[in-house]
Amino acid sequence: MADDLLRLRDDEAHDEPAVTLDSFLGQSNATAVRLEAGEDARALLPHLERLALVEVSFPSFRDGRGYSAARILREAGYTGELRAEGDVLVDQIAHMRRCGFDSFAPAAPIDEAAMARMLAIQPHVYQCAADDRAPIWKLRHG
């Protein structure tokens, strides 16, 4: 798994294993947690300071709940590593980036050349998200 980890962060990878949401909420010292697709990211909001890694599961690339989970965490000020794990494919990564994911643990290896192309393809974006790209309307009005 670690071989296929794509990290777009400069800090050291966090090596503590991610625990389930239930055990995270039940123990005071865990610093890494894994959210299943149906779990509510808002449960983590009171504990953001002690978190270094949140892993969000994508059981299928069609299941888009993780995009909301990521934005919710970033909007609440979470700055640690936010990892998309599971059925993570090249063509979804640009959206995942915009929602705040900064590391990817795909179940199947990702073609990095294709990923670089897809990440660079849209020169601008139409709406605000969890990244710092200025939306087109902001560019239009200076």
């Binding site: 709940r65 897809m118 139409y126």
Partner: protein
């Protein structure tokens, strides 16, 4: 009309490049069909029974002559010479080759068109009132709002993999010509204290569990609109079910937790989202709205129309509607000739309509959810010339909103999900009621046919609705009465046991006979049905 700036053009061009890359990876085998499917769907490309179908977006149903000519060109060059206008105010081509799709999109991009988000589990093309900017009863032109939502929803990173497809309609008139409350989100622009704001309805839809959207908020100021909609979508995306695709639509969520609880959760989320600064500045709305300023209507025009040609007079009375500017009228072009395929137009006909729009309607045309075309701004003095040109092209059917103005989905002739054919049935019904005098006698009668429970033909919203079902391997049709997608919105009720193709035509005839016998002054078919209830109709049909 809205015009792309360099940002809009770059976004569409980039999408073409992206899709070309994806198609190449699919053709080389790097992408499996399963992985490719959602990507092609987000570019409007479906795999149908016989070929790929490409659905091209016509944002809020508005297009210009140049764009129409491009649609004709695509029909001629990449299809078999036809385009099919849909109930989502889009156009589809039924005979597309996968290898050609990137080139078609590149050609479309040269006239500011695309197929982005015309399918897939994302926010789809925004629909609106086909009379926008022309109707006398509108509060304002709804299209700047629709364009604003088009931009906001394009490549939305959080809402591109929703539980299911998501449809938004925007209207700004008391008369609902867009079936607004049968959308996932329906927006009615209203005026309060001199300000325009959105009345928001959430959780409508057709499909196997039809629902009329309840009102969630009576007024959202323009400055809060995007925040509010993000909140609506996020609550849905967080909760929306993935385990059962039939229960994944927002209407099921709203129904299960109740409109009040849903609204409360949206308010809570909205309070948070509003603080993020994602809403547009007024200047951006003004910039968009300026594109929709009324065209330079002439003043002092004559109101009189020479009605001496009786065929013209019939068309005038049926297909031409009042315009807000003196001396102008709204022309409806019926794509429902008796015996034809509802919504189909040949490349030549599309070119004719493009020419007429250019010459007589400030270059603008509209697509309606009833699968017809509108020339929104025609001088009354030009109506006769327009009618003559339409008649020559086989486009002057005088049947707007009559029984032969049928909405029908593609059905078993094209669609892999269908249980039954829709098009041949529509043709049979139109042929049975072909006599124009008889149709006019029956008056407004909205007949809608879907080939399966997915309800693309809006049968729930038909005064008469027909649903194709599979009965032990044979095609069977369920009949329903009393639906409406207009401001008197309601869902149809099934009459009883289904029929075969001829049987359903007979049943409709018996029901309309009963209506003629029992109607009171001024009543449409649906009014008489609502007054009398199902029983007498049942008796007439099943005897």
């Amino acid at each position: 009309m809205y015009k792309y700036d360099t940002y809009d053009q770059a976004a569409v061009d980039a999408r073409v490049a992206e899709f070309r890359d994806q198609v190449e990876r699919r053709l080389s085998g790097a992408l499996s069909e399963d992985q490719f499917k959602p990507l092609r769907l987000m570019n409007g490309l479906y795999l149908q029974l016989h070929a790929y179908m490409l659905r091209v977006a016509i944002p809020y149903g508005t297009l210009d002559s140049r764009q129409m000519r491009m649609l004709a060109h695509v029909a001629r060059t990449y299809d078999r010479g036809y385009g099919h206008f849909t109930t989502r105010q889009n156009i589809q081509y039924n005979w597309i080759k996968l290898e050609d799709a990137p080139d078609i999109l590149a050609e479309l991009a040269t006239v500011e068109m695309h197929a982005i988000q015309t399918s897939g589990n994302c926010i789809r093309n925004i629909s609106s009132d086909q009379y926008a900017g022309a109707a006398a009863d509108e509060v304002t032109d709804p299209r700047p709002w629709a364009e604003l939502l088009r931009q906001w929803s394009s490549f939305h990173p959080e809402f591109s993999y929703l539980p299911r497809k998501f449809k938004i309609a925007v209207i700004a008139a008391g008369e609902d010509r867009a079936a607004m409350r049968l959308h996932d989100i329906g927006i009615e622009i209203v005026e309060r204290d001199g300000q325009h704001g959105a009345r928001v309805f959430v959780g409508g839809g057709m499909g196997r569990t039809p629902m009329i959207a309840p009102e969630i908020r009576d007024f959202v100021p323009l400055a809060d609109l995007l925040s509010y909609l993000e909140a609506c979508l996020r609550v849905y995306n967080r909760y929306g079910r993935r385990d059962n695709m039939y229960k994944a639509r927002i209407k099921i969520l709203v129904h299960e937790i109740g409109a009040a609880d849903y609204a409360r959760q949206v308010e809570e989320e909205f309070a948070h989202v509003k603080a993020l600064g994602i809403d547009l500045p007024a200047a951006e709305f003004e910039r968009i709205a300026a594109f929709f300023a009324p065209p330079a209507f002439e003043t002092g025009l004559s109101e009189t129309i020479d009605r001496s040609d009786p065929d013209f007079a019939l068309w005038l009375d049926q297909n031409v509607k009042p315009h807000k500017a003196p001396g102008y009228a709204i022309v409806n072009i019926s794509l429902k000739p008796v015996g034809g395929i509802p919504g189909d137009a040949s490349a030549e006909q599309i070119d004719v309509m493009a020419d007429l729009a250019e010459r007589y309607s400030f270059g603008e045309a509209r697509v309606t959810h009833a699968q017809n075309i509108v020339l929104p701004h025609v001088r009354k003095a030009d109506l006769y010339a327009v009618w003559q040109a339409l008649a020559e092209a086989g486009l002057a059917e005088a049947n707007l909103d009559l029984i032969s103005d049928i909405i029908a989905c593609p059905g078993l002739d094209y669609c892999s999900l269908a249980n039954a054919r829709s098009i041949p049935l529509a043709q049979k019904i139109a042929t049975r009621f072909a006599d124009p005098a008889r149709q006019r006698e029956l008056g407004e009668l909205k007949l809608k046919i879907s080939g399966c429970i997915n309800a693309c033909g809006h049968h729930h919203a038909g005064h008469i609705g027909i649903l194709g079902v599979d009965k032990k391997g044979t095609e069977n049709y369920q009949l329903s009465f009393g639906g409406s997608g207009a401001e008197d919105v309601s869902l149809g009720k099934i009459t009883g046991p289904g029929f075969d193709e001829d049987g359903v035509v007979d049943a409709i005839e018996r029901a309309t006979d009963l209506y003629l016998a029992r109607r009171e002054a001024g009543e449409r078919f649906v009014d008489t049905y609502r007054r009398l209830g199902m029983e007498p109709f049942k008796e007439a049909i099943y005897g």
